[in-house]
Symmetry: C2
């Protein structure tokens, strides 16, 4: 390494012959309880929520800070201004113009009465305004959650045959989703959501969007019957078994609307200032198609309309919740799974916006807000909601703080006065809106990025996608989780070990497979272990290191060079070591000793205390513990004679 | 770092001002298939089994090497000598004198006919001799496996009420255990056994031994009824509900025998040469007690004897296997669980002996041998076997290669001629043998070592022990697996990050919490990430690093010192990075940029290719990637001016 003048000053004094280089200190002992406390704090409170409270000086200020922590709205209310309100009104009305048609569409996708989709954009949005942690998230129904509801709850109570029972199941599942989310947040287990990797989410969302898009063929072709099974084969079989009932009129209308929506979406993307064009397009297409169908008497041409929608605000549904039905367990399972998906989508969107605007989103608070929103929603005839990307993006561009509340009021006005207007809205308009929104969810660019950067992640993504599209949503999820767990276990069980060499002209030792110029030292084998050593990999590492030594000895024998005398283990990347790990180092020392090889540990800083307590340091010998690989190598070359280790002191 | 003369030569030339230090190379691209192939090979064939075959020159020699690999006996047969045979006869007879009483005892423990225990020491031992990979393992029945059989299969077919059905279930479970073990070995998934950590095994074995010991109160007190439930409360309730039937005579006899066994065990431990004393003690105590009971007519004094044992070799039992019974699934579950336990015990014993004698045990071959042994055994009236430590230790001290075969022949002779002699053997003698053997399994020293070295491991061990003793064997196992999986997930989700400082007088940067003398550099924050960066921890790491920076800025503000200009990430321990990880580095760069902070990566060698492909290197800027932390620090100090990063180029 060509060092700056700064370092050269430090290394002018060479070590006197025979003098030992500086030692690695063993850290002072620390009580077990303190260690456990520290790691619990790091696990459950990585964000130190009490930080803001502790900063305040007086007791009263602290109490107010704690209150502000619990109800984030207290933080921004004092500085809320008329200008912000104006921005929020613009944003809220735009989001509402998107929320109303999407709410109706997604509720139909979930097999629920269309008005439930409107209810779900009202109460949850108000709850979220009070508890929100992300200021950009726009609350509303989500397509993937609706699809999951239909495919998981449908078999127990078919929505066409038992609409009331199905609605009760859906409210119960929503309640369980909320309870699960809130308890995750309260127990501060939010990090469990991180275990759904980005790759799996991209594949899962893409698969769901594909299935939902295909499902819209029903609306486009004007088919009366449709199964709620997901999966490409079932959908295709259902569509092609009803060829007699295909209609060209809704198909043409649907394609026109779809094209209109795509064009406005393109405009909105290219000109961020014109975001309202794409946001208002669904409402415009609903209005246009409704007027058209009304004028030409669409029913006569095979264009089905959605029919009358009830007037009035959310009726209470707390007595509809099923806590002792044979289907309660199914509802709980559906709630937990959809709860995770809604959290994963919501927190991914919230985090990406927070990143862009440089503020912080508290994952655990987000979960509590989602949980409260779902539990309140399940008692007021709402079903699963989340923060879908399309609506939140509008909010981010225009809104401020109370956009969700404005949106809720606009939806309220719709519920009270405007629902009769949707009577003649053709189903195909809703299908076109869903298909257009879902096309945006298929994230081909993210998949291409995965394929370029990390092929394994791409395989996870592809497997999940194929599982969802060709089997079913549940199987896709199972595939994703299985692949991810397997990946973690494998990475834990088979860590990498690499041979090191000195980079010429420096004292730096690096991987020989990466640095072509790095050279080995005669008689010394330097190995780096790239992971913690613990029960899951200790025996593998022991055998792998033995194989490295065998390989080197074979090579030396073939080349007739100076034989091996010392093995230097670079432990810089060994972040932790458990009792199996210390045993492994001990075993390694003993077996190398029998082969007349010395072992040296370089850089074992992180776990010196454990190595000391397990008496491995004493067994290896204090003089064979080094601060750097370079020191270990030099010391071994000058002090390690062939055959100095006597094999008769076998342990 | 005080360097030897060797290095000083290398660093005499200081870098000219403005010249960049040497770059970190991006490794050449490597095809995805080659990468996958390499990691599959490392996962499934870490021992390179073809190595021995590939070494041979001619095709014929290679075929023979492959045959030798499949049947290890071909390797040692050519060099087998008369002297080795003599050693094996001594060892085999000694092990047999231990195997006969233990076989009878453990079969009773499992709720099976005592003769099944003898059968199980015959056929499996012969099969293992042919396929063995560990030369020291002595095959025989195991106490823990017997206990598991009784507690898992007992509820479906109580051994007292339906002995025949119970035996069929036991043979079926043995078959499934064998099939599972063999398929693990053939699929080369042996590493899955490593996930049972040493700590969990110590706790589990200790708990089982405690339960088994307590269960022997039945024999000691001469009780006629006894439940097969495990768990302290159930056992105690059963013992104290039968106080009327307690007898003092078997208790006294049992205590005498127990004392005798403990004393001989102590002698055998202190004087390794006298190993045969402790090995022969069980047989001696059986003979002595049988003669005594015969002479004093034990039945009259409440001393129960085991009754007649069938004469003759193993009857076939292949038609007894139940493949389409309602209990097949239970038998399969029992087989899989006991198969894992028997493997874990067998391979732990085999590996520790191989370590001591410096030869290699192939885990996957070991599994195939165990699987073949169990499948053959299940067809010939044998139940679960393993390589118990007590017998294997005798074998290690005295035996060579065919000790298992000699032992099998001795058991055969017993089966053919000697079984009538056991007619009057008192049950309490068997109880004393079991209790004495089990006391040796409770490894208090290992537990104490765990408590000293690694408190978390000790907690795993204790939780498993308490689960087995106070709840049941199954619950203990579930506790162990749950704790271990949780530990892996936590270590993956919450990796350690530490602040680094320069060790005075060197260019070495180390953890400031460990090295008291390490000093920070003004204006530069150096952080080390101690784990791979991937989906499970990327968002935690992003927030944790932001907190480190916040902390440092708070501290600087309070002290009124030079403000922060650069964050150096030491990525030496980042062994791998996935697409979420590269995204995290990208996000971090962007958010630090907004705070007018420069980011520098030191030592990102392991994953340069992925960082390059994901364009993170280009985003960070090539000049901010360094070989060492020292270089990054120096470069940052001289080139990073306050506010050079302009916040208007927001991305």
């Amino acid at each position: 390494m060509v060092l700056g003048g700064h370092q050269v000053v430090a290394v002018v004094a060479p070590v006197a012959p025979g003098r030992l280089p500086p030692r690695v200190p063993v850290p002072p002992p620390r009580s077990f309880l303190r260690t456990v406390g520290a790691s619990l704090r790091e696990t459950l409170f990585p964000d130190e929520p009490w930080r803001a409270v502790a900063r305040e000086a007086s007791g009263r200020a602290r109490a107010f800070a704690a209150l502000r922590y619990a109800f984030p709205c207290l933080e921004w209310l004092p500085t809320y201004s008329l200008a912000k309100l104006r921005a929020d009104v613009v944003s809220g009305l735009t989001v509402a113009s998107l929320a109303v048609p999407q709410g109706i569409s997604y509720a139909r996708l979930a097999g629920l009465d269309p008005v439930v989709g409107l209810y779900s954009s009202f109460v949850p949005a108000l709850v979220y305004t009070v508890l929100e942690s992300s200021r950009d998230l726009a609350v509303g129904t989500m397509a993937v959650g609706s699809l999951l509801f239909a495919s998981m709850l449908g078999p127990a109570a078919p929505p066409a045959a038992q609409p009331e029972m199905y609605a009760r199941l859906a409210f119960t599942a929503t309640f369980f989703a909320g309870a699960f989310q809130a308890s995750l947040g309260l127990l501060r287990l939010g990090f469990l959501v991180d275990f759904l990797s980005h790759a799996a989410i991209v594949g899962f969302m893409g698969g769901c969007a594909t299935v939902v898009c295909l499902g819209q063929l029903r609306g486009f072709l004007g088919l009366p019957h449709f199964i709620h099974d997901t999966g490409l084969p079932a959908i295709m079989a259902s569509v092609f078994s009803q060829t007699a009932q295909w209609h060209w009129q809704p198909f043409v209308l649907g394609c026109c609307l779809f094209l209109f929506l795509q064009i406005t979406r393109y405009i909105g993307k290219r000109r961020p200032k014109l975001f309202w064009v794409s946001a208002a397009a669904p409402l415009v297409s609903v209005i246009l198609s409704t007027v058209l169908v009304y004028l030409i008497h669409g029913e006569k041409h095979g264009i089905q309309s959605i029919g009358s929608i009830k007037k009035g605000i959310n009726p209470p549904s707390i007595h509809s919740l099923l806590f002792s039905s044979p289907h309660t367990w199914l509802a709980a399972k559906t709630g937990i799974i959809t709860g995770i998906i809604s959290l994963a989508e919501g927190s991914a969107v919230a985090k990406s916006f927070a990143m862009a605007k440089n503020y912080h989103v508290d994952g655990n608070k987000e979960m509590i807000a989602f949980g409260a929103m779902h539990m309140a929603g399940s008692c007021t005839s709402c079903y699963l909601t989340a923060g879908p990307f399309s609506r939140s993006a509008v909010n981010r561009d225009a809104g401020c703080r109370t956009a969700n509340a404005v949106m809720a009021l606009a939806v309220l006005a719709t519920l009270l006065f405007l629902t009769p207007l949707f009577r003649h809205t053709p189903q195909v308009a809703l299908s076109a809106i869903i298909a257009s929104a879902m096309l945006g969810v298929v994230d081909l660019r993210a998949a291409a990025r995965l394929a370029r950067v990390d092929k394994v992640d791409f395989c996870v993504c592809l497997a999940t996608f194929l599982g969802v599209v060709f089997a079913s949503v549940d199987i896709g999820l199972i595939v994703a989780v299985a692949v991810l767990v397997l990946r973690i276990l494998l990475s834990v069980a088979r860590p990498r070990t690499t041979a090191l060499g000195r980079v010429p002209g420096t004292t730096v030792y690096r991987r020989r497979d990466q640095y072509d110029t790095a050279r080995g030292t005669p008689g010394v084998r330097m190995l780096r272990i790239d992971s913690p050593i613990y029960f899951a990999n200790a025996s593998y590492l022991r055998e792998r290191i033995a194989r490295w030594v065998d390989d080197e000895e074979d090579r030396i024998r073939a080349a007739g060079k100076e034989s091996l005398r010392c093995v230097v283990l670079d432990m810089r990347a060994v972040a932790s070591i458990d009792s199996c790990g210390t045993k492994m180092v001990e075993d390694l020392k003993k077996s190398l000793h029998k082969r007349r090889l010395q072992i040296a540990l370089a850089n074992p800083g992180s776990e010196m205390r454990k190595l000391d307590k397990s008496e491995v340091l004493q067994l290896v010998g204090d003089e064979w513990i080094f601060l750097t690989v370079a020191e270990a190598c030099d010391y071994a070359q000058s002090n390690c004679k062939l055959g100095t280790a006597s094999p008769d002191e076998m342990v």
